[in-house]
Symmetry: D2
Subunit: 366 residues, 4 copies
């Protein structure tokens, strides 16, 4: 991964700022001959779109994606695909204080220190708005995966908001799209609605944990040692705004296990190995095993809050700072479709990388 | 990161298998004019070396590093540095069962499925022995960092073994090198010695959590969006054998915080911004802020254990598998110097990347 | 260089087809704080623009560039710069024959064989129209170079059209912009006008040789062995449509020299080494010496000609093919601004790469 | 290509200096399951070896290659292959003058200016000795190509020495290995022997032109626009020591052709398209067509000559410099096996890249 590009063969470069004229993704290395139109991408963007409930920022954006290149007569040509989303609701406002001072917990100060200049309007390049470009790119990756790995299904959902976790015994996949939090636990959904509403009204925000699972990915994806599938997934998820931790399978909890508990025992199934558990999260030695690929990550609370915090400004003066304007009380909510998109891109990339090196030939068992 | 290389400008490629004639690291992009000899690298290798206590594998390796290129009259020349470590204790043994069957929880089966062939002797390429090459590369990175950022200090230590965590109120940096577990808590050290000895004798193993801190790194390191410092650190740590999760700053615990709790408030110090807390782990928006860079990761228990587990073999037959031979009861112990090495390599890489793009010019505050 | 991106740190990805809605360049890694607006880029595009004389294609395009990201209040921010040029004159026409058959000497058949699909409208991705994106990117590179290396001057010109070469004794730099061929030889300019007019009327086309010189580039650029400055320049120039050969300094003529003739003797000047000749074209061992960097390349004749040639079609039937429509009788003419742009991008990239690795410290002489 | 690595998926990093303990190549991304041993690589090294005739340097090196990793039980495993060649004849000598002064036409001064330090012994990293590592890597590439493209044949030969060109009507492929110059023209071989002997005795040197042809490469290799097959070949050949120009097909001579002359007409053969000529050198739009891939390059005369030339030293003093020691009077001779190796590596790399992106599916004709 380098600067604003990720991927080895399916390479995604995102560009654009929160309040510039447009943002988008330049995708290089997509397989040719994949059916693709805006209609394949737009639904994913609509899921991430702001303003769909009171729990996300009230900024209104259509997030209408246009394909500017790389598709001919409804099929990818193998040349770069340019996806552009115009910004329409860059509300005119006074950025005076944000322009001059640094929000605690925000990338403001770090961008200033690195570049000596930053587009402070809406967070500029560090805005969560950048993730729209990822979701668009994920739509392309999904179209290619649908052709190459028909059985693959990628699903993200929220498993924790603030200190409140779901009860996995109530896990209902159908519930995920029925509530504004993408959670599979209907009881948690109701509870979180009240909890977050209170936080929102108080001008505070809260963190979350998201889980993404890929079912049906083939064994053999991942390029050890430094292009391991889990390394690339960790980098991909950590690159999402506000993410502070990434887990594969049992993640941090692996540390507390003994070897006898952790080892996923193997039996021989009809069509190959089957496992009696999945502590590994579908990845061993950096390579997928054919089990579900399970990734989880923590999103910190939004740093733009309506409560005053101690900070400094450009002149080095100490100030008390309150962020005005429209913000997400739990930015983790909108990270769900983003995480699915990153998973799709990484899996497609490794699929291409693997067939490049090995030709997709697999070691036989039995 | 691609296949067996990591880094953008300071690029490290490791090579070699557990039981081949040698292993090593090919380093490209090292700054010229850095004082370097084997004596600068060997001490770090000696820290990672197996067989130094009863808590690590009893394999005996000198891990003597040789510099084969890139250094002239005691200084780096800017050309590739080849570091080679010969394997000396490849104990002759019968690999019969391991060669034919797959250890549950081990990369065996994934390598087989991807490549159709694997060097099963000692785990081949997936052996923790590969990390010796990282430690050697880290020695070079440290030498360069010593010249470029004199005040930088990188320290790793163990904060959890199995379910047993340290008590941070007993944190004593001087203790770290006094016990075989690299833990800063002397009480934990004593407790873990008994705990691990029991596990070892029973043929079982256990996981661990390692923390690495870089003090004195400059602000401005990290290339958002996809070359973020935390993305690269996450990929680097996740690439270490048996790592299943990576945290920056508060990590997974960030999810439970509110915005008001999480935002690290800023005051103006003598020489720049100072922070009242460090939930962020020294990284905002993917860029270092000048605070301590704090990374933590979980290591799963060694999968090679002396207790029988259900598995299958190459012919697809179901078997009960016991791993014989010399193994680490807690492979996390030896991950400590490896993690420091990875941190050193990533920081140096970003230092070079940053001065490439920005010239190292920093935005002024005050 | 990989797929549609070139550069190590200053990375340019071009996208777009001849007859799609738009084309452009995504630039990543530009230094921050560089003054930049559309007005800095447009003049270079105007020089390359089609339809400026009867000697280039009569397609009418404004080639108006828009900066969509990466610039704030007139300065680059260090984030990706998206440059977009909308296509306006995609003349509606019957592509029937070209869509079904392959023009001899054209990329048609190769794209079909590789991708199984191609955008045949105007050559699609293989159209010389793609070079507009390079020229736009070159405009950004020039703006950065103006800030970093104020004395640098990059000049391209045509030294041969078909078999007709210039007389270097008549070299007049001021003449270059006075004639439609960018040639420094006024006599050649007059001669070529008649020569090319005849070729054009007959429906034929012809090749050319372009030379580009960078004066004032610092010593020390180039990353041996495989990122040599001349390797990167060779790849950059060879990537321009229709280029079949690249020379550095004396180029192919070097083969006929003896060592005594070829060695550029060195004297000590006021501010460093001075050379008595420049057979090397300013590059030794892949590294710039501070002398003029001299690159020359051959452009083959346009393959789209109005005269019938033997070919085949998609069904494998043998046909006689004539290309209708608007074409360049000597595509080499418009390659001149493209070559300057590529030189600018490569030099800037190596400048950043060099200061990344070495800090820009130079070995002293004297 | 970046610094000391080339290739996208089949990545070769060379390391080592002329007078260090060893040199070699680290190969990453080789397909697994390829039969490989030292015996597959050594013959190619023996062809490049110095001291095989009076026309090459009299340095005596066995150039014995050792495979240190990546091969198990006679097959590649898909993990990094480390190839090491120990230097045995680093003749002890006085480097006094070369250490302090710069040979005109040599990389000495450029390395000094870039790095501020150089290993002056035998040219250090800029020595032609580095090419042994390429030839070894080429041996691995050939082994993989033998498995993947059985009909492929790569042949290099010299077509010009100094001003003396071969007569192509006398082209006899069998002659190439019968003379010390790898020329297919027996009359030229005899003529050049006398010519070069005289030059050698006078302490002078001379340039050469090498041609390399790949027969039997599939159509569809090459990743336009910036990973074009010809761009990568140009970079690869230009990276060889002393190369100053690269041509594809008709090369520089293309400039003098008209469109009607240049277009290679196409007919339908039994198994696909057939061409009536090959001006294009087998590459259109950066993609291979299935015709012979034809690359030619010029090698400048060796800069280390026994005749005095004006130069300067480290202190900035003007000196007359004579290079003592063992050198190649025509370094182009030993470039022949090197060029074949580079061609093999580039073709294999593009084969893997192509099957990664497209799956190797080809557009049907007929």
């Amino acid at each position: 991964m380098s600067l604003n590009t990720f991927g080895h063969l399916f390479r995604v470069t995102t560009w654009g700022e929160s309040h510039g004229p447009a943002l988008g993704a330049t995708i290089d290395g997509c397989p040719p001959g994949i059916a693709l139109s805006e209609a394949d991408i737009q639904p994913w963007l609509d899921l991430r779109k702001p303003g769909t409930s009171k729990f996300t920022t009230q900024r209104r954006e259509d997030d209408a994606v246009r394909i500017l290149s790389g598709v001919f007569e409804g099929q990818t040509t193998g040349t770069p695909i340019q996806l552009m989303i115009e910004n329409t609701d860059q509300r005119s406002k006074d950025y005076g204080e944000i322009a001059q001072a640094f929000r605690p917990g925000h990338a403001d100060i770090a961008y200033h220190q690195k570049y000596g200049i930053r587009d402070y309007r809406g967070g500029g390049r560090s805005s969560a708005r950048e993730t729209a470009a990822r979701v668009a790119a994920g739509g392309v990756a999904r179209a290619a995966l649908a052709a190459l790995v028909p059985g693959l299904a990628i699903t993200g959902y929220m498993v924790q908001m603030g200190p409140r976790t779901i009860d996995r015994s109530r896990f209902d996949a159908a519930e995920i799209t029925r509530n504004p939090f993408w959670t599979p636990d209907p009881v948690a959904a109701a509870d979180w609605a009240d909890y977050l509403d209170d936080l929102r009204k108080s001008g505070n925000s809260v963190g979350a944990v998201i889980e993404v699972v890929a079912k049906g990915a083939p064994a053999g994806l991942g390029a050890p040692i430094y292009g391991k599938l889990d390394s690339d997934l960790a980098a991909a998820m950590m690159s999402i705004n506000a993410v502070k931790a990434v887990e594969i399978g049992d993640g941090m909890a692996s540390a507390a296990l003994t070897g006898i508990e952790n080892a996923d025992e193997i039996r021989m199934g009809e069509s190959g190995p089957e496992y009696l558990s999945n502590h590994a999260g579908g990845i061993l030695g950096g390579i997928s095993t054919g089990q579900d690929i399970v990734v989880r990550f923590a999103v910190k609370p939004t740093s733009s809050i309506l409560m005053p915090r101690k900070s400094i400004n450009l002149r080095g003066e100490e100030v008390d700072l309150v962020t005005k304007g429209r913000h997400d009380p739990c930015v983790g909510i909108r990270a769900v479709p983003v995480a699915e998109a990153m998973m799709a891109c990484v899996i497609l990339d490794h699929l291409l990388l693997d067939r490049g090196q090995t030709g997709g030939i697999r070691g036989r068992i039995g």
